[in-house]
């Protein structure tokens, strides 16, 4: 998508709190941002709330961005972090030990992203978080366990639960 302002100009303008630059940043990144938030939220309204909170952070912390070329990646990471924090706040569930093979994203190939996201939104926040971190963001089991402050086994169980629930929904 061609932008009338370059990334560097946008970042510089946002630093000065210029409204036009802020609008340009938003227009360029919002569809992708909402896509991320839709994965971490339970529905579209919650996703837009998350996106609002995340964009506040984007505009208030724009000074921390050193390299203007990394603008999209930086906005993406803020969206993910906001989503992770949101899912973390959900209550911890009791996890039963269950040693089935780990779910992988390959299972879901026939489905479109829209369908998958709709299925993800049916999950509980913690399962949704585990699935996002492992199957979408590409973290390893250990890294997911570290992020979610639980054991490897817990993560595997959550992923299986998530996969089963999503399969049921998509049938």
């Amino acid at each position: 998508m061609a932008m009338s302002m370059s990334n560097a100009q946008i970042v510089e303008g946002c630093r000065r709190r210029d409204a036009k630059a802020q609008r340009a940043l938003y227009d360029a990144t919002a569809p992708m941002a909402l896509g991320v938030c839709m994965r971490y939220a339970a529905n579209r309204d919650e996703a837009q709330d998350l996106m609002q909170d995340a964009y506040i952070k984007v505009f208030e912390r724009i000074g921390q961005l050193r390299d203007a070329d990394r603008l999209e990646a930086w906005v993406y990471s803020i969206m993910v972090n906001t989503g992770v924090q949101h899912c973390r706040k959900a209550h911890r569930e009791t996890v039963v030990d269950d040693l089935e093979p780990v779910a992988s994203a390959v299972d879901f190939d026939p489905y479109s992203a829209h369908d998958l996201v709709a299925a993800m939104q049916q999950l509980s926040p913690r399962h949704r978080l585990a699935f996002n971190l492992f199957a979408v963001e590409g973290y390893s089991l250990d890294e997911v366990a570290q992020q979610m402050k639980c054991s490897n086994v817990n993560v595997r169980v959550m992923l299986n639960r998530a996969r089963n629930k999503m399969r049921e929904f998509l049938r």
Partner: protein
């Protein structure tokens, strides 16, 4: 699956909401600074008011004068009482000492709806203001006790709904009028050694004609040191002939106003020697 390609179109007006919230957050940040300056200015002015009757401690003046020009730039619609309490935490470290003085004063004015703000701010030190608050809390109990009390509030009128709500909140009888404008004018300070009679002795001046007057004065430990039922009384800072130590004392007066409605008013008076 390339998840970066997955996009959703946000609703119209979301960006405007984001801009609005950014704006409001900035206002709170700026307002916090302005409110802190206003609090410092108030403390400075009050310190001036207490100190101006004494010969020593002239150094309070330059501090207050330095702060006053800043107070002139306060935007009144941004400064907000609840914001002061929240934003006090944002003040930088060099101002924290003064804020520590301001906080009990502000907490007393904002949270305690029983005591009138201008009178509470006359406390000289933060320790004294806390003790005065205890004395004030003790004072209604002393007033209510039938055995030691010489006060007769009379038959209370039917309290209105707002008064009942306030009474429930502050735990005071509904006829307490200290959240409205005061009818009694009283000095903050008396200096028993002074030449001028108005400075030497504590008297109250009612702003309208009153009846059924009764006043009691308490020390910081809640002990009654003086009482009178005569509206034209004058207290010289003694208890049974003995001069009382320098410090803050609390007075509580009850009376009926021109229309016969009972009132209770309270304040502090500092005795300086």
């Amino acid at each position: 699956m390339d998840w970066k390609q997955y996009t959703e179109q946000p609703d119209e007006g979301l960006f405007d909401e984001i801009q609005h919230r950014l704006h409001v957050r900035r206002l709170w940040r700026v307002g916090g600074w302005v409110a802190s300056v206003a609090v410092l200015a108030t403390v400075g002015i009050v310190a001036l008011g207490i100190v101006s009757t004494q010969d020593s401690r002239q150094q309070a003046e330059p501090t207050a004068e330095a702060v006053l020009p800043a107070a002139g730039t306060v935007a009144p619609d941004v400064v907000d009482q609840p914001a002061v309490k929240q934003q006090v935490a944002v003040v930088p470290s060099e101002a924290k000492k003064v804020v520590a003085v301001a906080e009990p004063v502000v907490a007393a004015t904002v949270a305690d709806s029983v005591v009138e703000a201008p009178r509470m701010l006359s406390a000289v030190e933060p320790k004294q203001s806390e003790r005065v608050a205890e004395a004030v809390a003790a004072a209604p109990a002393a007033v209510a006790t039938p055995s030691t009390s010489t006060v007769q509030p009379g038959t209370p009128r039917e309290p209105r709904a707002t008064e009942q709500a306030v009474a429930a909140k502050i735990g005071q009888p509904a006829v307490d009028s200290s959240y409205r404008f005061s009818i009694l004018k009283a000095p903050n300070v008396i200096v028993p050694g002074d030449d001028a009679d108005e400075v030497r002795r504590f008297k109250v001046t009612p702003l309208e004609s009153i009846s059924d007057f009764s006043i009691m004065i308490f020390n910081r430990r809640g002990q009654r040191v003086y009482s009178s039922k005569d509206q034209a009384f004058a207290w010289d800072g003694t208890h049974e002939g003995q001069p009382l130590p320098q410090g803050a004392y609390v007075w509580v007066a009850s009376f009926r106003d021109a229309s016969g409605m009972p009132h209770t008013e309270r304040g502090t008076v500092t005795v300086l020697r």
